[in-house]
């Protein structure tokens, strides 16, 4: 009988190494995370349970180091986007919020660790921390109190709404601003990738800046975790930067290139979001398959009722179609030699918005339909559909929300001029 | 009847033990097929043995075609050379100590293509285990 391993994951694209890694994560999850996953919602504020597990994944399994250059103690995984996709799927199958926390540790580092635009000076400075034996977590801070979507809507607003500023003073940047909502903010993050502007109100791409700020730098302060609908394994708080001074070299690449490689990070954010949706849907598939096989209604297993088979079929179609689209784009982006565009090409950013929108709708539908057919049991904490239902909702809402995703996808396909 | 280790009679007993052992036949079917799988053991003095003794074992495809003492190591062509003292070989021949463990510890020095040893580790273990299947007697005991 088919299992979750029979959903699309092209073997000719995903190396044996990456597949193996997926299996290791799955085993780790079964042993270490699944037994406690229903307690994570109560741990949203303290992360007494979550933090040691985050260390197990980032340090012991080596997810942090996987993407860093070998020279600084990293593993330098050869096909990083494929790896991210599999890691996100496997972790999200266990807990979407935990997956977000884990993968966002390296998300903001993409501009300096990803080939071919590695910034070796910064890798040498921060790599040993990410790759060392202690937990060291990255945090990608973009969203501000004024519209987060506007910040991500660079194609139209070109950074003019970014209020966090970076001012050069001799050999140092002085950072001022207020960010919120970033994954791993609060007490979790050790290093922030701060999206800021060197000229408030400017629409010049050269003024868009990515600057690294250690969480223990003077002038950095954080708020308390927000209590959310789900995603409790991810901590989100306010972060304030008040005249924070960091060395000039902490700007990731400089005028123009910062924006370029941030776009690439956003593209990967959309791929990662999609993989999270697929991972959640795979677990939903596992849960409803078992439930509808064992639950007997009107004299036969639930799955043998045609109306239920319709739902079961729909869930698998959602998984297959999302996976197929996702893997095709992963492949395209990973092979500029064949497809011609660099991974930081704005067209990929726009196209992958469509993918992540589709995926977030798919996972929302899958969770909702599964709950419909599990009755009150689907609504109960014990059977985990309820958890996925709460967790997944934000995947459509983050990174600019469904509207921005819709607009940017349409902007790519129809060349919109005003939206 | 117990045979004296080391002696030509003992070598013959070992050959018999190897050739009647199904595990060796099965696990060794690739041994020595496209490489030199012959062994030369150098047993150095100690524990009752007063001069260095050389034991030659010809092994191919899970069978032993020759096993004897030799005077001059250069008279044979062996792909694997193992050296250790008589005192240390004794417990292995008695079946009390694992030969592979001895190699891992460095008690026995082994020269040869280690990738072949790894590929045929079960065969090596089976051949070593066959030592305990016949009775031996020892110098100095």
């Amino acid at each position: 009988m088919p299992t979750i391993d029979d959903f699309i994951r092209p073997k000719e694209w995903v190396s044996g190494f990456v597949s193996d890694l997926g299996r290791v994560i799955r085993k780790w999850g079964e042993e270490r995370y699944i037994p406690i996953r229903q307690q994570v919602d109560e741990d949203w504020k303290e992360h007494k349970i979550v933090e040691p597990l985050l260390k197990e994944v980032l340090v012991d399994l080596g997810i942090n180091a996987a993407f860093f250059p070998a020279e600084v103690g990293g593993t330098d995984i050869p096909d990083p986007l494929t790896c991210v996709t599999v890691v996100c799927e496997e972790l999200a199958r266990i807990d979407a919020g935990f997956c977000v926390a884990a993968i966002c540790s390296v998300w903001g580092m993409v501009p300096i660790i990803w080939k071919p635009h590695r910034n070796m000076e910064l890798c040498e400075e921060f790599g040993p921390k990410f790759c060392g034996p202690e937990l060291f977590v990255g945090c990608h801070v973009m969203t501000e109190p004024d519209s987060g979507a506007d910040i991500e809507n660079f194609g139209r607003l070109q950074g003019k709404t970014i209020k966090t500023t970076a001012t050069l003073d001799g050999d140092e940047w002085i950072i001022n601003g207020h960010k919120l909502w970033a994954s791993n903010s609060g007490k979790v993050g050790d290093l922030y990738t701060v999206i800021c502007t060197t000229n408030k109100g400017s629409t010049d791409p050269d003024d868009f800046a990515l600057i690294l700020v250690p969480a223990d730098a003077k002038g950095v302060s954080v708020g308390n975790p927000y209590q959310k609908c789900g995603m409790s394994a991810d901590i989100n708080t306010d972060v304030w930067f008040e005249n924070v001074r960091v060395p000039k070299r902490y700007r990731m690449h400089g005028p123009g290139d910062d924006l370029k490689y941030w776009r690439e990070a956003i593209t990967y954010g959309s791929i990662g979001s999609t993989a999270i949706c697929v991972g959640v849907m795979k677990n939903v598939y596992e849960i409803i398959k078992k439930w509808t096989s064992e639950r007997v209604i009107a004299g036969k297993p639930l799955k043998e009722h045609s109306i239920v088979a319709d739902m079961l079929s729909e869930v698998t179609i959602l998984i297959e179609s999302t996976s197929a689209w996702m893997w095709t784009l992963v492949r395209e982006i990973s092979r500029p030699d064949i497809y011609g565009w660099d991974p930081w090409d704005e067209r990929y950013l726009l196209k992958t918005r469509g993918l992540s929108l589709f995926a977030s709708n798919a996972v929302e539908r899958a969770c909702s339909r599964a709950m419909d057919f599990m009755g009150s049991y689907g609504y109960a904490r014990e059977f985990d559909i309820e958890k996925h239902y709460r967790d997944q909702k934000v995947i459509g809402l983050w990174m600019g929300g469904k509207t921005l995703k819709t607009l940017e996808n349409a902007r790519y396909w129809y060349n919109l001029e005003t939206l | 009847m117990a045979v004296l280790y080391p002696s030509n009679e003992w070598c013959q007993e070992w050959k018999k033990a190897i050739n009647s052992n199904e595990v060796i036949e099965e696990t060794g079917k690739n041994w020595g097929v496209d490489f030199n799988g012959n062994w030369l053991f150098e047993v150095t003095p100690g524990g009752g043995l007063d001069k260095t003794t050389y034991l030659y074992l010809e092994a191919k495809a899970g069978k032993c075609s020759d096993s004897r003492l030799i005077d001059d190591p250069s008279e044979v062509d062996a792909g694997f050379f193992c050296t250790g003292s008589y005192e240390l070989f004794k417990p292995v021949v008695k079946g009390e100590q694992d030969f592979i463990e001895g190699v891992v510890r460095g008690v026995f020095k082994l020269k040869g293509d280690m990738t072949k040893i790894m590929l045929n580790a079960r065969f090596i273990r089976a051949v070593a285990d066959s030592l305990g299947t016949f009775e031996s007697e020892f110098l100095g005991e």
Partner: protein, 122 residues
């Protein structure tokens, strides 16, 4: 470079074995490329004997030394037969891990990558 340096005193049997296997493997361009630039240490412990060796990868240079160093990047413990099965490519390290045939600690991704230096091709 496919020579593996001996660090410190004469190697124990495990170390000699590992050294030779890695030297053979590093002649394969694909393996050399995969582990070539790695930095980190791998402790291999043979279960029955309790003997350990440490393999040090340092951006192309590889060294082997006796005993376990403190806080290696990764650690693996297995019986000789399991080590043999892994190094001869008959048993994938992940499969061995999932089946409980070997014990591993430390950065697992790095372990998987470093273990490629120990797995013979063909």
């Amino acid at each position: 470079m496919s020579r593996v340096e001996i660090i410190g005193e004469e190697l124990n049997g495990l170390g000699m074995t590992l050294k030779q296997i890695i030297e053979t493997n590093l002649k394969v361009p694909d393996i050399k490329e995969k582990v070539g630039r790695l930095k980190g240490s791998l402790v291999v412990r043979e279960k029955q004997s309790g003997i350990s060796s440490t393999i040090i990868f340092d951006e192309g240079d590889v060294g082997v030394q006796n005993d376990a160093i403190e806080r290696p990047a990764a650690f693996i413990e297995a019986g000789f037969l399991e080590l043999a099965d892994i190094s001869s490519g008959r048993l994938g390290p992940v499969k061995a891990l999932l089946a409980g045939k070997i014990k591993a600690k430390g950065n697992l991704i790095k372990l998987l990558k470093m273990s490629q230096a120990l797995i013979s091709r063909g």
